[in-house]
């Protein structure tokens, strides 16, 4: 037996390697690299330094301390904790969630007692307001009664409607993204771009779209189009067109060349070749990408309203600023439920297509 020409191979079979060393290859020079060397040490030191510097700037120690205090408070070790009390105050004001809606009858224009809205009734609420009688200097209570229209699921349905608007925003954002990215992708695929200049232009447009976060572009679009869903779906569409354009273009480039050559060789032209030689190949992938983008847009659409771009985020921001935490609670629960349900749905749909 002669020494193996490939030392790597011996790594895999240590027992045999040992046998060799004992019996035949005592004179052969075996050298195994140490698993760690100076470069690994340097890397570890640099990594630790980065962690130390950024950690202190991010106040990580305070975070750890206060979280520990909060945990201690919950299990009864600490008397007080600012984090725990803050969280509990919010939790207390969130619960119970706001489902119903009450409107003072006197504030409703053209109120018709015989034609109440669906599922609503009129209640009389008595409120007592204490005030000082200036003559007797006694505290007196006056009873004021006002009529209110109570809608038992009024606020919930309002939030659901807002959620629907959010979903519609996501849908139109995705439609816009697809419409923008298909022509962009054709120009950004190296084998279909008419020339180098247009190719680079399309590629950089796609990168630019991807580089602008929705929340930033929505800020400016709100200035242009005013508060409401227009700014929202435009912002979503532009950002996700950046993603879809890149995905689409790469799929066009990687599609099997055979069918394309067959159509080119009879002179079918670029557009028809794309339509008949490429599209059928990449369509399932395209649908999967588009579904993913729709899924992502729904999640983004819920928060994009915070800058005033319509949907449930606008409602959330308004209620949060008014400290109506019970309303905020309802909104959050609806957002979580929607995202969870859609996540399941789209995951299943995509796995079917792949």
């Amino acid at each position: 037996m002669k020494p193996s020409a490939n030392p790597n191979w011996n790594w895999l079979r240590p027992e045999k390697n040992m046998m060799k060393n004992l019996s035949v290859n005592r004179d052969a020079k075996w050298h195994l690299n140490q698993p760690y060397n100076a470069r690994h040490l340097m890397f570890a030191i640099v990594a630790l330094l980065i962690l130390a510097v950024t950690g202190s700037r991010m106040e990580v120690p305070r975070m750890v301390q206060e979280t520990a205090q909060g945990v201690g408070y919950v299990v009864g070790l600490n008397e007080e904790s600012s984090v725990a009390t803050g969280v509990m105050r919010i939790a207390e004001s969130i619960w119970p969630l706001r489902i119903s809606e009450e409107i003072e009858v006197s504030r409703i224009e053209n109120f018709d007692r015989n034609d109440l809205p669906w599922l609503s009734h009129v209640e009389v609420i008595e409120s007592r307001t204490p005030h000082l009688n200036t003559e007797t200097l006694q505290l007196e209570e006056t009873v004021e009664s006002k009529e209110v229209l109570v809608k038992p699921i009024g606020y919930l349905s309002h939030v659901l409607l807002k959620m629907l608007e959010t979903l519609e925003m996501a849908l139109w954002g995705t439609i816009l993204a697809v419409a923008l990215s298909i022509p962009l992708a054709c120009f950004a695929a190296a084998n279909y771009a008419p020339n180098r200049f247009i190719y680079n232009l399309a590629r950089s447009t796609i990168s630019l779209f991807r580089a602008i976060p929705e929340l930033v572009s929505a800020l400016f679009l709100v200035l242009a189009f005013g508060f409401g869903p227009i700014a929202g779906f435009l912002a979503l569409g532009i950002h996700s067109a950046g993603f879809l354009g890149k995905f689409y273009a790469e799929d066009i480039e990687n599609a099997d060349r055979g069918p394309q050559e067959a159509l080119q060789s009879i002179g079918a032209g670029q557009i028809k070749t794309l339509w008949y030689g490429v599209l059928p190949q990449v369509l399932p992938q395209y649908i999967a990408y588009t579904l993913y983008i729709l899924d992502r847009n729904i999640r983004m659409a819920t928060v994009i309203g915070i800058v005033g771009a319509g949907g449930i985020g606008l409602e959330l921001k308004g209620r949060f600023d008014m400290f109506n935490f019970d309303h905020v609670g309802t909104i959050l629960v609806i957002i979580f439920l929607t995202v969870i349900i859609l996540d399941q749905f789209s995951a299943r749909l995509r796995s079917r297509l792949m």
Partner: protein, 267 residues
Amino acid sequence: MLRFDSVYKRFPDGTEAIRNISLHVPKGQFCVVLGPSGAGKSTLLRMLNGLSQPTEGSVHLAGEQITERSVQRLRKRVATVHQQFNLTPRMSVALNVLSGALPQVAHWRAAIGLFPPELRQKACRLLDEVGLTPEHVNRRVSELSGGQQQRVGIARAFMMDPAVLLADEPVASLDPRISRGILELLHRQSRNHDTTVLCSLHQPELAREFGDRIIAVNQGRLVFDGTPEQLTDQVCEDLYHGALAHKHDVPEVDEAECEPELELAAA
């Protein structure tokens, strides 16, 4: 019908695929291009449908030189049958055959897949001619067997009533029994449609059986041109012996890599 005038083809990496080939193929001839793999058969054929341009010399089709200006017009008269069939796998058989007529279909019709009735009828007739049944028509191409796929490819090739049919190793990925059927079909179709055929093959037996004329290419040179009777065993021997000699230039597999496995087996 087809004419090559001292054509050279060099690739950017410096390999010479075609070296000084002159050739004339008259109308209606079934001409077989024989040669080992890598001899330049495909390159020769690809110059006729514009997928490749000669570095030197000129290629003529029906008396007109194939240039960058004329290629879009001329390639509509040239159909190609490919080694890997080159069908669009997720599309139906019908659409694949119809896509063979795409150059003469308006863009809007192509976009919504609404082909004119006469083309639809033609597609059905061709599918019948190549031996496929109506039940195949609406199935996806990827569901068919290799031989059936090549039949679809042949039907597609005849959609434009080509003057010239290029068959680039049409049977290289099929088994021998099916190969014979496909070549018989190609032969019959080209007779019936009065098409000039340039068909590359690497099996001499098949070339003798189906070719009106046989040319042989090796390492980019034309090494034989004659009738099937003139293609003696000696010629074939030379052709493939040359190929073997060529193959020895390829560096051999590093033996050291393989040896430990052998030792292990012995131990």
